[in-house]
């Protein structure tokens, strides 16, 4: 299967999002791939509010099974969440569990005006009632397939399929 | 009952025998060695092929916990442990409850112990009333009741004037005094050797000087009073050197070491193993090595089990709060053999330390297979071994730092007064 070009998808995603933005809108990228995409979007959209990043490990629902991830990154939310429109940015939308964790975490910083979701790829397979407002690409993948975003040493983003 | 023990390897250190010899027992005594005595016809023949036949073992310290601590052990349980370990005579220290400080208590103990299947019991009477270190006991009366020596178990006499008088009084009657060298202040609150391990584990320490200072006091008083003194459970290299020097200076002093101190050191406390909480404390490896050499050379006269059965409740508490002591009657032979093997000693020399040499300290006619002697005999398989476990130990106390280990030597038969009291036919 030919995978779409990730850099192109970022540009397309930014263009789709542009009409829906408010001057106070803030982006929060989810570690790790979501942060890369959010950085692209933040630059392309010329947002003034600093980019937020989030490691949702503390809020994951599989902690009891898998324990704590060894390389945790601190969440950095450099703006007031209270009453602000927030867009969560992730690379691939799959079961929706990461997004649930991310939304829980955002509420621990305050009550946002609204939360939207922007992703590069919606690959289907949802286990929670979560839907992206913007997805640059949609595709149906089997359970065993795992779509990942990677960043090369020169900073170029590419999508790669990993068979589990 | 006439018993013929044939095909065995007989070791009788008292008589310098270490050779294949048959043993003949009649009327509770040794009737002959080697050749069949005239007119002897055996009721029972024991085939001791591959086994060692030696005098019944003598343990210089075994707590039977009666009277007063029957929840820890009883005569029945501990005597079963003794004969299973080949021990046919034992001295019991006076730290019962109440302590052995009255003739009536000693008589009662002797009476209770008078059973054909029970090892011979030799009580060590209390040197001071209640072991409190204040008033002397009626030593002469206690001696008549059956005490072979006088001591304080693990409780030192604090007042040196009382100590001197007690030694003078014992010397008057030529009673031996058995004392442990423990300064009452230097080791106060201590539960482990004051060294690297105690420092690492944060356990209050007992310095070496707690033993040497008390020993110096005892040696001076022994010289001045002329008392026959036996130092029980020495723990350090420095103490051993002092005893050797005191002896060279003409002081009548003997000493013993426990099987625990012969094999273990402070590091065996591991992660707070309460079974390694002992009095005196396990000291450094170099101390243990000095004790092992001292026992081999004879500067330490005997090794004993220092048997102290402790109930689980008193051990399953933090290390410092745990009741000190370890069960040992069944380990006296195996751990003596283990030491002998590791030190490459002839078996006879090792067995002397738990037979004739120990008998000498006790001042009893035992620990030998001389013709005419009481037929207390231990027959063991030197190539066999026992696994030390809660299940295999007959003692009511399951507390020993050797739990889980395989130790050499398996007792096959124990005879007491020529009467079979323990038999374990399976190798």
């Amino acid at each position: 299967m030919r995978l779409p070009d990730a850099e192109q998808l970022c540009i397309a995603l930014a263009e789709r999002m542009r009409p829906g933005l408010h001057p106070d809108t803030a982006l929060i990228g989810i570690h790790t791939g979501g942060v890369w995409v959010a950085e692209r979007l933040h630059a392309a959209l010329g947002l003034k509010i600093l980019l937020g990043t989030m490691d949702v490990s503390f809020y994951r629902d599989d902690f009891g099974r898998t324990g704590l991830h060894p390389q945790l990154k601190p969440s950095e939310i450099p703006f007031e969440v209270e009453d602000r429109p927030v867009i969560i940015v992730d690379d691939v939308l799959y079961t929706g569990r990461t997004l649930r964790a991310a939304m829980n975490e955002i509420f621990d910083y305050g009550r946002p005006a609204r939360i939207d979701l922007a992703v590069l790829v919606d690959r289907g397979g949802r286990e929670l009632p979560i839907c992206a407002r913007w997805a640059a690409q949609t595709m149906e993948l089997d359970r065993g397939q795992n779509l990942q975003l990677e960043r090369s040493d020169n900073g170029k983003l590419t999508l790669r399929m990993v068979n589990a | 009952m006439k018993i013929h023990v044939k095909n065995g390897h007989l070791i009788d250190p008292a008589n310098g025998i270490d050779a294949p010899r048959d043993l003949f027992i009649a009327a509770g005594r040794i009737a002959g060695i080697g050749a069949v005595p005239e007119g002897f016809s055996a009721n029972r023949i024991i085939d001791a092929s591959g086994l060692v036949v030696c005098p019944g073992l003598i343990d210089l310290s075994a707590r039977l916990r009666e009277p007063g601590f029957e929840y820890r052990a009883t005569l029945e349980s501990e005597m079963a442990a003794a004969v299973a370990g080949g021990v046919t005579s034992l001295a019991c220290p006076p730290d019962t409850d109440p302590p052995l400080d009255e003739p009536g208590l000693v008589e009662m103990l002797k009476h209770r112990a008078r059973h054909p299947n029970f090892a011979h019991v030799y009580p060590v009477g209390a040197l001071t009333l209640g072991l409190a270190g204040e008033r002397l006991t009626e030593m002469a009366e206690l001696h008549e009741a059956g005490c072979v020596a006088f001591g304080q178990a693990n409780t030192p006499v604090v007042d040196t004037q009382v100590l001197m008088r007690a030694l003078q009084y014992a010397a008057t009657f030529d009673f031996p005094v058995w004392l442990q060298a423990q300064d009452p202040y230097l080791g106060k609150g201590g539960v482990a050797h004051d060294g690297e391990v105690a420092t690492r584990l944060g356990l209050p320490g007992i310095p070496v000087s707690a033993e040497t200072i008390a020993l110096a006091t005892l040696m001076h008083l022994a010289r001045d009073t002329g008392v026959r003194i036996h130092i029980t459970r020495i723990s350090g290299a420095a103490a051993l050197e002092m005893i050797v020097a005191a002896r060279a200076g003409g002081i009548k002093v003997s000493c013993d070491v426990s099987i625990n101190h012969l094999h273990l050191s402070e590091t065996d406390i591991g992660y707070f193993n309460p079974h390694a909480h002992l009095v005196p404390p396990l000291r450094a490896a170099r101390d243990r090595d000095a004790l092992r050499r001292g026992l081999a050379e004879g500067s330490i006269n005997a090794v004993c089990s220092d048997h102290a059965p402790v109930d689980d409740d008193a051990k399953q508490v933090p290390f410092a709060e745990a009741e000190p002591g370890a069960t040992g009657l069944e380990l006296l032979l195996p751990l003596t053999l283990k030491w002998a093997v590791e030190m490459k000693l002839p078996l006879g020399r090792a067995l002397a330390r738990i037979t004739c040499d120990a008998a000498g300290i006790l001042g009893i006619e035992a620990g030998t297979l001389s013709v005419g002697a009481t037929a207390d005999v231990c027959i063991f398989d030197p190539r066999g071994s026992i696994k030390v476990s809660r299940e295999t130990l007959k003692s009511q106390g399951k507390n020993t730092p050797f739990l889980g280990l395989e130790v050499p030597g398996r007792v096959r038969y124990t005879l007491l007064d020529g009467h079979m009291v323990f038999e374990n036919g399976r190798p």
Binding site: L68, Q71, L72, S75 | A198, G202, F272, V317
Partner: protein, 319 residues
């Protein structure tokens, strides 16, 4: 002998002591603690990691301060916290330490935070739990006798790393009553494991344990010599009861020779940090001018302590 704090996979099962803990695990705790520090600045200072878990603070020796820090850490992780102050008098009424543990295990405890006056008590508890096939219950040593106070040691390492970055170039001095100090033992173990090239202990001979140099430290009795060019000064608390008896003549003399004063601190490097596990005895082991001065990082220690304890609890609960 297997390290009783690690599970079969070599992961942390209990935190009992820093002695023998692999360097990677110590580093992992410090790394994990970093993101937890940020939680304190949020509107909702709570993470759901230990939601539905019961943490029992089992204090056989009272310590409001230590208990509170564990309580805050557990509550920020959304655990249910049950505080039990079990005085020794109630255990002497017949219920043994292990009876208490069995009872609480039957109440579906998930974690025991244990403070006990006897060295080794948390080992006894963890060994008992493992023997009773209650391996899902984790034990954290919150200070046992003179033996160990591993979370204090870890939070001290977090503090040092925060200010000094690299352990392998430091000279650290630990000053005061090392003999009775579980904190000092845990600090020494952590510092040596993390590769600090020179750890010094400073104190009178009555307050230093036997063979302390075998723990990998240099011994100084002269505080001015011992503080020369050090990067970190770790003061220990001197318990008031040590003043009675024969360990020390008076608190005044102790302060004069072993109290941290500005002039003694001048011997250290200009950027040296001063630490104290608290509560401080001002005028006994530390001068107020130092405790409140620019070198002191005593309050950050407290803040970091919460994050480090959260990290330890989260790691244990996940293993």
């Amino acid at each position: 002998m297997r390290n009783p704090q690690l599970n079969k996979n070599g992961e942390l099962q209990h935190l009992l002591t820093i002695d023998g803990l692999p360097r990677e695990i110590i580093t992992a705790v410090l790394d994990t603690a970093a993101p937890f520090t940020e939680v304190a600045e949020r509107e909702v200072k709570k993470l759901p990691l230990l939601r539905g878990k019961s943490v029992f603070n089992l204090f056989f020796e009272s310590s409001t301060r230590t208990r509170t820090t564990f309580e805050i850490a557990a509550k920020r992780l959304s655990a249910d916290v049950i505080n039990l102050n079990i005085s020794t008098s109630s255990t002497s009424k017949g219920e043994t330490l292990l009876d208490t543990v069995d009872n609480l295990s039957a109440m579906q405890a998930d974690m025991f935070v244990v403070r006990h006056a006897s060295s080794g008590a948390p080992f006894l508890i963890s060994q008992h739990l493992d023997a009773m096939r209650q391996e899902h219950i984790h034990v954290i040593n919150a200070g046992d006798g003179r033996h160990a106070h591993p979370t204090q040691g870890l939070l001290d390492m977090y503090t040092i790393r925060h200010y000094k970055k690299d352990f392998t170039k430091l000279t650290v001095a630990i000053v005061g009553d090392v003999l009775h100090s579980r904190v000092a033992r845990s600090q020494i173990n952590a510092l040596t494991t993390l590769g600090v090239p020179e750890v010094r202990v400073i104190g009178p001979k009555t307050l230093l344990p036997a063979d302390v140099e075998k723990l990998g430290v240099r011994v100084f009795h002269d505080m001015r010599a011992g503080l020369k060019d050090v990067d970190v000064v770790m003061m220990l608390r001197l318990q008031n009861e040590r003043m009675q008896g024969a360990l020390l003549p008076s608190s005044e003399e102790f302060f004069k020779y072993y109290g941290l004063t500005p002039d003694k601190l001048e011997r250290a490097r200009p950027d040296a940090i001063v630490m104290h596990p608290g509560p401080m005895n001002r005028g006994v082991e530390i001068d107020s001018a130092v405790a409140d001065g620019p070198h002191a990082v005593i309050l950050p220690q407290v803040t970091f302590g919460i994050a480090v304890r959260m990290a330890v609890m989260a790691m244990l609960a996940g293993n």
